[in-house]
């Protein structure tokens, strides 16, 4: 096949098949790096949940299951419209392709809109990561707030509460050690770390949704210009792969963050 018959074929590829397969391989390699990127955050999640399950049980009550579930349905449906858009581009159905890409973009807007509502509620209730964590009374779900400040009993100077020296690595000891920081009643300590993990994971995912929306908008412009045909639909296919990966990550984030039991 000559290159003049196929204007989209780059000079360094022999055939459209070779070009398509090479591009697709590159796309899957990129998706693998994305999985590894999120893998680090999933690892932080796993370690923190393994050591402090009580924080996850407590803090997940602040996440709205209905909003999270709605967002899951929106992303799944937009995944269908994207997969259908790839099919439409393969079959040369230009009007259907434009309609389906618009629907997918709409799904992205819907997802980010709900995300905005969720983040705004967290912000207003002071449920923020790190040093910004300052839950207001009305933000506490189960009446853990408005707890009177109990004065700590004064520790006699004669019995210092210095823990026994640690024979193991720093901060560890073989025998049962006295608890220095007992949990305050109601709210376990260090809840802010849950919100650190929550905002990092959903935030990075949200950035990926925004990037995907940008790419879909680019596809929309090109499909209106009539750039795609059954001979050349590679960009639609590859952006589709990216959009499905974003969906894939949310499939794991939703039960792990919202449905803790």
């Amino acid at each position: 096949m000559s290159h003049s018959e196929t204007p989209y074929l780059q000079h360094h590829f022999e055939t459209p098949e070779q070009q398509f397969d090479a591009g697709k391989l590159g796309m899957w390699l990129f998706l693998a790096t994305e999985i590894l990127l999120f893998g680090g955050l999933f690892c932080a999640y796993a370690v923190y949940r393994a050591t402090h399950p009580e924080i996850f049980l407590y803090a997940h009550q602040f996440l709205d299951k209905r909003l999270g579930g709605t967002n899951t349905v929106i992303l799944l449906c937009s995944s269908l419209t994207m997969a259908w858009a790839v099919r439409a581009s393969q079959l040369g159905q230009r009007k259907l392709l434009i309609a389906l890409l618009s629907l997918t973009l709409l799904g992205g807007f819907g997802f980010m809109g709900i995300k905005y509502v969720e983040y705004k509620a967290k912000w207003e209730h002071g449920l923020l990561p790190g040093t910004h964590f300052a839950p207001h009374a009305e933000g506490e779900a189960h009446g853990a707030a408005a707890e009177p400040a109990v004065p700590q009993p004064a520790v006699p100077k004669a019995t210092p509460t210095i823990p026994p020296s640690a024979p193991g690595p720093a901060g560890t000891v073989k025998d049962a050690a006295p608890k220095l920081a007992p949990h305050t009643r109601g709210r376990p300590s260090n809840v802010q770390i849950f919100f650190g993990i929550y905002f990092l994971m959903t935030g990075l995912h949200g950035i990926h949704v925004l990037a995907g929306m940008g790419a879909i908008f680019w596809l929309l412009v090109r499909s209106i210009k009539g750039h795609f045909s059954p001979d050349y639909f590679t960009p639609v296919d590859f952006v589709g792969l990216y959009w499905h990966l974003v969906d894939l990550i949310w499939i794991f984030l939703f039960p792990l963050l919202y449905l803790v039991s």
């Binding site: 391989l25 999985i35 590894l36 999933f42 997969a83 099919r87 901060g171 499905h244």
Partner: protein, 115 residues
């Protein structure tokens, strides 16, 4: 024109399959929300993860064409998933090793009891 053309490369997934996958995904989403109300003891997390893995497999196989693709692409993605699991498993094993001996709220570098 519409529907009659055939692509030079790639595989056209039938609409029946696409909608079937979406229906299954939505049902499984409902199931995962519904079962989160039940207590399976220590299997809670594994039930949720199992459902998520099943949903992810459907998306990978049909929406992302892996079922029809060259197997090399599947090898890449399965390998990356395997390495993420290895990474998390290794980190968890290390954490479990130290956790029972940890003194809560005590870090030697930080002065917790200035006297």
């Amino acid at each position: 024109m519409a529907g009659s053309a055939h692509p030079r490369v790639g595989h056209v997934v039938p609409l029946r399959v696409l909608f079937g996958v979406l229906a299954t995904l939505l049902v499984m989403t409902y199931v995962t929300v519904a079962v989160s109300g039940y207590d399976f003891g220590r299997f809670n997390l594994w039930v949720a993860l199992g459902i998520a893995l099943f949903k992810a497999s459907l998306v990978l196989l049909f929406f992302m064409h892996l079922k029809y693709d060259k197997p090399f692409n599947a090898i890449i993605i399965i390998t990356s998933l395997a390495f993420v699991m290895l990474f998390i498993a290794g980190a968890l094993m290390d954490v479990k090793q130290y956790q029972p001996n940890k003194i809560e709220g005590y870090a030697p570098a930080i002065k917790t009891n200035p006297q």
